[in-house]
């Protein structure tokens, strides 16, 4: 809990007025708000993945139902969850309180755990899964907007790396905890649900109590005007920001600024590549068809991918900060291409499987958090949540379309040839995607924009103006 208590003192750190910590210090520490959000995600992922792992067993063994219907519902909900993301981001931008929008999302998931304890039939279980997915959809974009707002812009991808590492640790621990409980307590499904609820509630408490109520839009407004003053300019052009008592609101939300040219380029490139991302499931099935090791461990292949993702999210985030985030985002797809080849080409043995899983891990480490970082970097503070939510939705929907379309190849050509076709298409698409986003990394941010982002941390934290409760400073 040390990390989260530290975050509690964040708002008391030097606030807007001007003095920033020395550069060296800033670049070596990840904002405690990011660590807090990471811990919230870790706890919540333990909660959701522990239930997800045992749900098929619960439905078949305890409820005596077939799991087939559950799978269908799950697929549909993944789509619904993708669309809710935009709404979550939009709500965060509109209200300029991303924390509380995220809180609602995390809260819904916690409620769904409580509901599972009461649900006895399939309909009840399905309803609770729906609530959980909606919650996940709502919280993702506001949370990523908070990470962006709380981070030093120069090390933004590293911040996302830290967050995604913690997130994936949770996703890996969840199933282990659930299966361990079932091992000790036969039919202990309710214990799993209660433990899951416990993790969700503690995660919610950490978010509610320790995450700073960042106000990205307002902070940008204050920063902009402070900058004008320090530059000796009139406090603002034709507005009345000098009038006492006027609430700084920042630039109002607008869809046009949510999709500025830079963001649009990223959406186009990443959306296009997502159309060639067929999903882990197909890669795993392809491995299973040719390798005894993969067959033996099939239900656990995702753990291998998670382990690689977990250990690489941070180093690849650092690399992205140094080498260019958009560049890493695109080049990360080379790992996906390699995973397709590795899954399609018969080399046999455990190594093929392990290498493929590692490559998938590299792909996620280089694309998931980095996408949020790229969009967060280029979107205006007033529309960041919406922009990040839109990017994630575009990717999720394109991947669903891709998985559906890949079915044609899968049944038409057979597994390995289908993989090779997609790998070939990806190889052709990658240079175009690379060219599309190349300019985004090299151009240094224009002065005004840069200032706005850079000071987001301190100004956000203190943006409320009024000092926090005294214990925050202790």
């Amino acid at each position: 809990m040390t990390a989260s208590t530290r975050s509690g003192s964040l708002p008391a750190e030097p606030a807007p007025g001007g003095t920033r910590p020395p550069r060296a210090a800033r670049s070596t520490r990840v904002s405690s708000a990011v660590v807090t959000l990471g811990i919230v995600s870790l706890l919540t992922d333990i909660s959701s993945e522990s239930v997800a792992a045992i749900l098929p067993l619960y439905i078949t063994a305890a409820l005596g139902l077939s799991t087939i219907a559950y799978g269908f519902i799950d697929g549909i909900l993944q789509g619904a969850s993708a669309l809710v993301r935009i709404a979550g981001g939009w709500a965060a931008d509109r209200g300029d309180h991303p924390k509380w929008v995220a809180f609602v999302g995390y809260g819904l998931s916690a409620v769904s755990r409580a509901g599972l304890l009461l649900a006895s039939g399939f309909a009840g279980v399905a309803a609770m899964i729906t609530v959980d997915r909606l919650g996940k959809g709502i919280r993702t974009a506001p949370r990523d907007a908070m990470i962006t707002a709380a981070s030093e812009p120069r090390t933004l991808a590293r911040s996302f790396g830290v967050h995604r590492t913690l997130d994936t640790v949770g996703a890996t621990l969840g199933p282990l905890i659930a299966f361990a409980i079932l091992l000790v307590i036969p039919n202990g499904y309710h214990t799993v649900f209660v433990v899951s609820l416990g993790f969700a509630v503690v995660g919610l408490a950490v978010l509610g109590l320790f995450a700073p109520d960042l106000r990205p839009r307002r902070a940008a407004w204050l920063e902009k005007h402070r900058t004008r003053e320090t530059r000796g300019l009139p406090s603002c052009k034709g507005c009345s920001c000098g009038v006492p008592g006027l609430v700084p609101a920042g630039r109002p939300f607008s869809w046009r600024s949510a999709a500025n040219p830079a963001v649009r380029k990223v959406l186009l490139a990443v959306g296009g590549l997502a159309l060639l991302t067929v999903g882990d499931g197909f890669v795993y099935l392809s491995l299973q068809a040719r390798d005894g090791f993969a067959t033996q461990w099939f239900p656990l292949l995702y753990v291998g991918t998670n382990l690689a993702y977990m250990s690489l999210a941070l180093p690849i985030g650092r690399l992205a900060d140094r080498w260019g985030r958009a560049r890493v985002l695109i080049v990360g797809h080379v790992a996906l291409l390699a995973a397709y080849l590795s899954a399609a080409v018969v080399l046999g043995g455990a190594w093929t499987t392990l290498v493929t899983l590692a490559l998938l891990g590299v792909f996620y480490a280089a694309t998931d958090g980095v996408l949020a970082a790229v969009v967060g970097e280029h979107a205006d503070a007033s529309v960041r949540g919406t922009a990040i939510g839109t990017a994630q939705t575009v990717v999720a929907v394109a991947r669903m379309v891709s998985a559906a379309g890949f079915g044609f190849l899968w049944y038409g050509l057979g597994r390995a040839p289908a993989m090779l076709v997609v790998a070939g298409a990806l190889a052709i698409a990658l240079p175009f995607a690379y060219r599309a986003v190349r300019g985004l990394d090299t151009a240094p941010p224009p002065d005004d924009q840069g200032e706005e982002d850079e000071t987001a941390v301190p100004s956000d934290a203190g943006a409320d103006g009024a000092p926090r409760s005294p214990e925050d400073r202790s």
């Binding site: 993945e49 078949t60 307590i185």
Partner: protein, 340 residues
């Protein structure tokens, strides 16, 4: 050292409550499981040899206690009487005179799944891994063909969707067929939906089988007839799932969804001779199982007990118009007639 702030106290309180409630529920459930085991009425048991010799039912016993989940046998003339336990643990069983197939979950921190083939003496002849939770299994009447269905689910957050995997094993030649890859013929026309799932196989002879096919993108679930030699599955009816062919090969029992909210499954019977079909209205409870045939005029199926997680009963119902369900084997699941 600074004193903990109120919000640290608040968090500690939440954590304490979470741990407290979690432990309490865990201990309660553990005690209940232990008590269920200890207080379990000792299941009347008999010796295996005496039951194996007469026509009998093979099933998974769900009676709480040490023998939970073991395959057991009861004579056909006294199905609710003493049962003979084997030492084989299964989630789903398919049995014949000379062989038994068993699908099981290997519990552990890394939970896995496997299929096992056993001979008439309940000795393992072969095992192989399954990619997910066991769902259905059937043997052909001469035990030369075996079908297994498992439910494969993507656990990764980023993976969408699910799939069933249904494999037909030719136990004489050693060949196996992934019937999902067979040509799908819908109403006489070859179609290639982007997604398809096949499950719940029942064998008519050494080439023909019936199963369920579903395409989400086309929005249909069908009963299909398949041919292993031609590698095709052809739809015979829109709607219905998990077919099961009667011993005389004239009828198919299947589950049919009669209500969507709440989901309600009833027993449908399709007469293959004239294509007529009906729903057995005597059973009003929703069931979710691949039915099995007790004889040419009676079907049996498992139903979970509402108040006892993990405990199920096998019920039977006669095909006659006014028949009502009968509790056939208490505390049982996945029944099959052998030597009937």
């Amino acid at each position: 050292m600074s004193r903990p702030t109120p919000r640290v106290w608040a968090l500690l309180a939440v954590v304490t409550v979470a741990i407290g409630v979690g432990t309490a529920v865990g201990v309660t459930e553990y005690r209940r499981a232990a008590a269920q085991d200890a207080a379990a009425d000792p299941v009347a048991a008999t010796d295996l040899a005496s039951v194996s010799g007469v026509p009998h039912l093979v099933f998974r016993s769900t009676a709480p206690g040490d023998q939970y989940g073991l395959v057991a046998l009861v004579p056909l003339d006294d199905p609710s009487g003493p049962r003979a336990f084997t030492d084989v643990e299964c989630d789903r069983v398919a049995a014949g005179a000379t062989a038994t197939a068993c699908l099981r979950t290997i519990r552990g921190v890394a939970t896995r799944f496997e299929a096992e083939l056993l001979d008439a003496q309940w000795q393992t002849t072969e095992t192989w891994p399954l990619p997910g939770v066991p769902s259905r299994t059937r043997l052909s009447s001469d035990q030369t063909l075996l079908a297994t269905t498992s439910f494969v689910t993507g656990h990764s957050y980023t993976t969408t969707g699910f799939t069933t995997q249904t494999i037909v094993h030719d136990l004489t030649s050693g060949d196996s067929f992934d019937i999902e890859e067979f040509t799908l013929v819908v109403d006489g026309e070859e179609v290639a939906p982007v997604d398809r799932n096949l499950w719940g196989v029942t064998f008519a002879d050494d080439d023909t089988f019936y199963a369920t096919a579903q395409s989400q993108s086309l929005g249909h679930t069908w009963l299909v007839r398949g041919s292993l030699s031609e590698r095709t599955v052809e739809t015979i009816q829109d709607g219905g799932a998990c077919p099961s062919i009667s011993p005389d090969g004239t009828r198919i029992g299947f589950k049919v969804q009669t209500s969507n909210d709440p989901v309600h499954w009833e027993i449908g019977i399709l007469d293959l001779r004239d294509g007529s079909q009906r729903v057995l209205t005597g059973e009003t409870r929703s069931f979710d199982d691949q039915i099995a045939w007790l004889d040419d005029d009676t079907v049996m199926y498992g139903l979970p007990r509402a108040d006892e997680p993990g405990v199920t009963d096998v019920w039977s119902i006669d095909l006659a118009e006014d028949a009502s369900p009968v509790l056939l084997v208490p505390q049982a699941w996945s029944p099959q007639v052998v030597g009937g």
